[in-house]
């Protein structure tokens, strides 16, 4: 056999936007049967590159070759026709339609008089679904499927054409570990069929598990391609951010303070049962478990968004009842929610207004807002948290994920809480900002806050927590101290294996 030819080759792609050189001479190739990771921090140019590939942006310079033939893409449809298929992070499915209708949306098989050929549609769809080894059929309503299965529908859509290259954009962002395994099997099958795969992800573990080569972008510039087997996380990270990153574990290096929060036998219907734990000032307690283990629901209960069906919540030894977020805030509990854009920020508002949102009422002078005091608060937390923004007038929607998260954290710190609950602190945040957020959480504990961190990323939980509460299916399985925890025991606990220990 001769040398394999790349299914997809990008040659010296340059794309500039007013004031920014988004892509500066990026070249890389994807071979048939290869899983090729594309890595880079947010803003490194990954999305722009994919938009150039999908025909949404026209490159200023450079060429795209599919099967060594130069092509120009005018839009997603043409890209698809040429065998370049995208599996987007944000699923774009019509929930009320069936699986088959979604897969062949816009290309439904026809009979005479424009009628849909339902028989043929079902046959074709079931043939594809069989290949993917899924447990639903063509007639299932997409809205009834889990997120993972919806993603399978997207993948099935990709398989309706003779795909040469499939681009996965953060495919595991909302998948559970079990669902990831299924996804990786599908990727392996595609790979065995000789399809080239571009895999975009922030998650190092996955990258090292399933990819063959890694190409790295930084600030729109191509940093190089390495064989996955010949590199490690540290050097990839270094290529991505251009400096070294401290990922080592930290033990508690300060004294713990008083008991801040205690939960006794808290239950909420079927969501979680008999939850008991304590958080002291100066301590970071990590909550680790699979999606649906009940962690977020506990946080929502503590923040007054859900009423518990049984159990007690004690703040500094006093039992409290929390009926609304306003209650929780007044009692010194703050929640940095999981979905930053959907639940945490008012994207159309500027940085200052977002930061002072919970206390603008307390700051007012007479009937009017005290804008000067608000600016002072914003300035204080901008400096303290190192929020990078041109000024308080900047709309929050224009900031990077890391800076947005800092705005949310700053918003709550300015309320001087005792308990800070942070749900998925670094979801969708790039590697560099991630470590800053981690450092910040440690610092906040050192300053005497009681910090609860809910995370689905094991390295994160291990890195920031003094103690780790492992949850499975609405119950606490075990509580680890940072000395005794191991990755294996943690995984066992959250998969429901091993004995249940009271916390």
């Amino acid at each position: 056999m001769t040398d394999p030819k790349p299914v997809l080759h990008l040659d010296n792609i340059v794309k500039t936007f007013p004031g920014v050189r988004a892509l500066d001479g990026v070249s890389f190739s994807v071979m048939p049967g290869e899983v090729h990771a594309l890595m880079g921090e947010n803003g490194a140019g990954k999305s722009t590159l994919m938009k150039v590939l999908g025909g949404i942006h026209k490159p200023d310079e450079g060429d795209i070759y599919v099967d060594e033939r130069k092509v120009t893409m005018s839009g997603p449809l043409e890209a698809k026709a040429k065998g370049i298929v995208f599996i987007h992070q944000e699923l774009s499915l019509a929930e009320e339609l069936s699986v088959a209708e979604n897969i062949y949306l816009g290309e439904l098989p026809r009979k005479s008089f424009g009628r849909v050929d339902w028989t043929r549609l079902a046959e074709q769809t079931n043939a594809i679904l069989k290949k993917l080894n899924v447990r639903f059929d063509a007639a299932t309503r997409v809205g009834d499927l889990s997120i993972a299965n919806q993603q399978m529908v997207e993948i099935a859509r990709a398989l309706t054409v003779d795909a040469k290259a499939v681009i996965f954009d953060e495919p595991t962002a909302s998948l559970t570990d079990a669902e990831k395994v299924v996804l990786f099997d599908v990727i392996a099958d595609l790979k065995a069929d000789g399809v080239g795969i571009i895999y975009i992800s922030h998650r190092m573990e996955e990258i090292f598990k399933i990819t063959d080569r890694i190409s790295i972008l930084r600030d729109g510039q191509y940093q190089g391609t390495v064989n996955t087997a010949e590199t490690n996380e540290e050097s990839v990270t270094q290529m991505m951010i251009g400096r070294k990153l401290d990922l080592s574990r930290k033990a508690t290096n300060h004294d713990l303070g008083d008991l801040a929060l205690e939960v006794r036998g808290l239950s909420c219907g079927k969501l979680y049962r008999d939850i008991s734990f304590q958080v002291r000032r100066g301590e970071v307690v990590g909550f680790y478990g699979l999606v649906g283990a009940g962690r977020t629901e506990i946080a929502e209960t503590l923040f007054g968004l859900r009423d518990p069906s049984a159990g007690q919540i004690l703040l500094a030894g006093q039992e409290v009842r929390i009926h609304s977020p306003a209650d929780a805030i007044a009692r010194g509990i703050s929640l940095v929610p999981e979905d930053r854009k959907g639940q945490g920020l008012v994207l159309g508002m500027n940085c200052r207004d977002n930061m002072t949102l919970p206390q603008v009422d307390d700051l007012k002078a007479g009937p009017f807002m005290a804008e000067g005091a608000e600016i002072a608060i914003f300035d204080q937390y901008r400096d303290r948290l190192d929020i990078r923004t041109p000024g308080w007038k900047q709309k929050v929607g224009n900031l990077s994920g890391g800076n947005q998260q800092k705005i949310v954290i700053g918003k709550w710190l300015s309320m001087h809480p005792t308990v800070l609950i942070v749900d998925e602190p670094t979801r969708g945040i790039d590697v560099g900002s991630k470590s800053e957020i981690h450092k910040l959480l440690r610092e906040l504990a050192a300053q005497g806050y009681a910090v609860m961190v809910i995370s689905s990323e094991m390295p994160e939980v291990l890195h920031v927590s003094d103690r780790i509460v492992a949850m499975y299916s609405g119950r606490i399985m075990r509580t680890f101290t940072s000395d005794e925890v191991t990755e294996d025991s943690l995984i066992q606990a959250i998969s429901g294996l091993g004995d249940s220990h009271a916390a």
Partner: protein, 333 residues
């Protein structure tokens, strides 16, 4: 310059640019087409225009808060008619017979209170049932109008109090009473929306309701207050207008909700909430009134006016969309 600032500035300025265009067009076209001798941009004509803008304009200020808050109120036209009836009818009630001209403030207060209550009722239903404001106020629009017809059938309700008419027709510093009310309401609502916590929270709730809840803002009471405000302003608009005219037909105020929404949307308020300004709405109100008056000036009839305004509304929103979408890679539909 920050990304988005240019288009923001263009959007904010767009309504005023449009007004200038209208003025130029009608002045020039008026030279050839108008039957009257006076120029379109005659001072008296412009002052009259401001006065005629008042009924829609006063309600539009309330609609701006309600829409920024993420709701809508379709019942304002019916509330307007009810308040008018309360105003005119209550002046004839025997219990107020001994009050003399003091019946005027009493009738005003009654009308305003009724409007405020009807608005608050809408808000309460939206808050407590969680039903979309569009549906609730659609129901209220039909229901309140039903009440109007129940009161006096197809007959108009009339009462002329000459002291009141004199008051309504008075001018102060060259501006009519109605114009003063429009300017006053605009200023008051501008303060409310830009300088007070209530205004800030209205934007936050309209932009991202969940984030507002998570910040401890009580969304329900805010909506209730905003609906009460628009109810009050619908009644105020009626009070100002019918003090002068003295007679209300059961169909009066019909389609007002649509004129008001048109003005608010032309002024740049997002129909989904979270963005909009009182100053923009003021521009929208003036732009519509200019159009109505201008087209009349060059000899167009009412049906033509409606057709043209409809087309312009769509054209303006299309332009706005183009300005917004550019560079944002929005999906083509």
């Amino acid at each position: 310059m920050q990304a988005g600032q240019l288009s923001d500035a263009m959007k904010r300025g767009a309504i005023w640019g449009f007004i200038v265009l209208e003025l130029i067009f009608f002045s020039v076209a008026g030279q050839y087409l108008s039957l009257s001798d006076s120029a379109f941009m005659d001072l008296d004509n412009m002052l009259l225009l401001l006065k005629q803008s008042a009924p829609i304009g006063i309600i539009a200020m309330g609609m701006t808060i309600v829409m920024v808050n993420g709701n809508i109120d379709l019942s304002v036209g019916a509330t307007f008619a009810i308040a008018a009836i309360v105003l005119l009818n209550s002046m004839t009630w025997p219990i107020f017979a001994g009050l003399g001209d003091w019946v005027i403030p009493v009738a005003w207060l009654l009308a305003l209170a009724v409007g405020t209550l009807l608005g608050a009722l809408n808000g309460l239903i939206v808050w407590k049932t969680g039903v979309d404001a569009f549906i609730v106020t659609l129901g209220a629009m039909l229901g309140y109008r039903g009440i109007v017809f129940m009161f006096n059938g197809e007959n108009p309700t009339s009462h002329l109090n000459w002291t009141l008419v004199d008051l309504a027709e008075a001018e102060f510093l060259g501006l009519a009473t109605a114009s003063w009310f429009l300017l006053g309401v605009t200023l008051a609502v501008w303060f409310l929306m830009t300088k007070t916590v209530h205004g800030r929270n209205a934007y936050a709730i309209g932009d991202n309701r969940e984030a507002a809840v998570n910040a401890g803002i009580r969304v329900g009471p805010h909506m209730l207050i905003n609906f009460a405000i628009i109810g009050f302003l619908a009644a105020l608009s009626a009070v100002v207008f019918y003090s002068e005219s003295g007679s209300v037909n059961p169909n009066d105020g019909q389609l007002y909700e649509l004129w008001v929404i048109t003005a608010v949307v032309l002024g740049g308020t997002k129909i989904t909430g979270g963005a909009g300004s009182v100053i923009g709405t003021f521009g929208g109100v003036i732009a519509i009134q200019l159009l109505r008056k201008g087209l009349g000036h060059i000899g167009a009839d009412t049906s033509t006016v409606n057709l043209v305004i409809g087309l312009i509304l769509i054209a303006v929103l299309f332009l706005d969309r183009q300005l917004n979408v550019r560079g944002k890679e929005e999906l083509k539909v």
